[in-house]
Amino acid sequence: MFLDAPKVPEIHRLLESGRPAAVNKLANAQISLTVSLFLALSHHLLSRAGNVEMARAIAGLNLSGVERGIRCLELDGPQLSAEPFGAPSFDLYRIGSKADLLSDEWSLFYDRFRRSAANGRTSGMFRGVGGVLGEMGDNVVWHAFEAEDRPCPALAGFHVTPSFAAFCVVDWGQGFLRSLRRSAKWAGLSTDGDALDAVVNRQATSRPDEEVGGGFKQLFNSLLDFNGVVILRSGSCAYRLENHGDIRQVTVRESSSTIGSSVTVVIALHGSPLEKELVIA
C-alpha cells in the first residue's frame, strides 16, 4: 500500500536505486493521488535525464493516474480540458511556468475542483477550498522555482468521491528550507523540520518584501470548516495536521531526504480524513 504522502520518500529510495526491478515492487500497488503525481514527475525527470529504462519501468506499472500525469507533463502548450466547466472526479494540471498560472485553464481547473467537491451543495466553504488549491499552485512559481528562469516541473491534481475530496500539488523544486533561506529573516533555519514549523506556526515566507506569508494561513483557516487533514512534505520531513472541530492535531515524521515538496489536503464528509486509493472511473 502506498497511500500516504509520507510514503513518498520510500518510493524515492526505490527510484534512486537505479534498478528497474526495484520499481516493480510497486506493481499492483494501491496508490494515492499524491503518490501518483510523484511517480509521474519522477518519470518526467528520469526521461529528461536519459534514464529511459527507469522511466519505462514506471510507465509500465500502469498505476492509476500516473499515465495521465506523464501525458500532462509532456504536453507542450495550453492544457485544454475536454469539459472545462465539468465536475470530474479526477483531474490534473501542469505547473511549469507563470504562463501556466496566467492561463484561463488554470482557474477553470481549480474551479472544477470546487464544483466536484461541492457536489451540488452551495457553500462558501467549497469556494474557499477551491481558492486554496489556486493558492497552493501559485506557491510553486514563487517558492519551488529557484528563480523565474530556473523553473521546476510540478503537478496539481484532485480526486473526489462522494465521501471525500482531496487535492495535491507536488513539485520537484528547491523545497521549503532552501526557499525560506533566501529571506534574511529565515536564513538561520537549518533543517527541513524547522522550515515546515516556520511555515505552519510562524507564517514564514521567503518573499523579501513581505513580513508574513498568507497562503498557508488561508489553507488552515479554510480547513477549520471541514473535517480535514493537510500533509506538507519537504526534504526529509512531513507535517500532518488533522482538524477535528476546534482541535488540531500535528504529527511530524522524519524520513530520508526527498527532492521537492508536496501539499496534500483531504476533506472527509464522515470519519477520519485519510488519503485514499486513487480509483479513476
Partner: protein, 186 residues
Amino acid sequence: MLKICITGLLPANPRLNGATVGEAHAEQVRAAIAAAPLAGGGIAVLDFGGVESASASYLKRLLSLFFDAKTPPVPVLVNVEAADLVEDLEDYLSNKGRVLVVAHEVRNELRLSRLLGRMDGAAAETFQELAKLKEATALQLYERHRERTTNQTAWNNRLVQLVNLGVARRRREGRFWIYQPTVTTN
C-alpha cells in the same frame, strides 16, 4: 477620473487568487495609470463589480502598487459588494494596518460609502471630524477641540497621517494646508 474594472484585467476571474495573477493585474493597472492624465484629484477608481473574492496574496501584489508608492494616484474602490470580498479586503488591510476608501457614484461624482481596514483611534476621530467639516486646517481642528491636544502640531500630524493612509488629501492656500476627505462624504 481614471477608472479601472478589475474584471476587465487579464486573466479575468471573479475569484482572484495568487500572487502571479495579482502581479499580472498590477502591471496592467500600472500601464493604465501611466497612460492616463492624473485628473480627478489624483484618484484611481478600482471597480470591483463582479469580483466575488480575492486572496491575500492577490491583494498584496495588486495594492502594493499604491501602498508602496509615495505619489498619487490614491486608490478608491467601488462596487465592493460580495460578502467574501469584503471579508478578504478587511482581513488583508487590517493585517497590513492600511485603510481603503470604498465609494459609490452619484451623478458622476464619488461619495464615501465606508472605509475598509483599521485606523487607530486618533486617526479615526480626526477623519470623522474632517468628514463632518468637509474641509479643515490643523489650526481649525485645534481651535474646535482645545481640550483634546496641547498644541496644533498634534492635529497636523493626525491630518498628515490621513493623507498618508489615502483617506484625505490636501492643498496649500497661503501658509496653510487645507485638508479634505479623499472623496465627498455625503
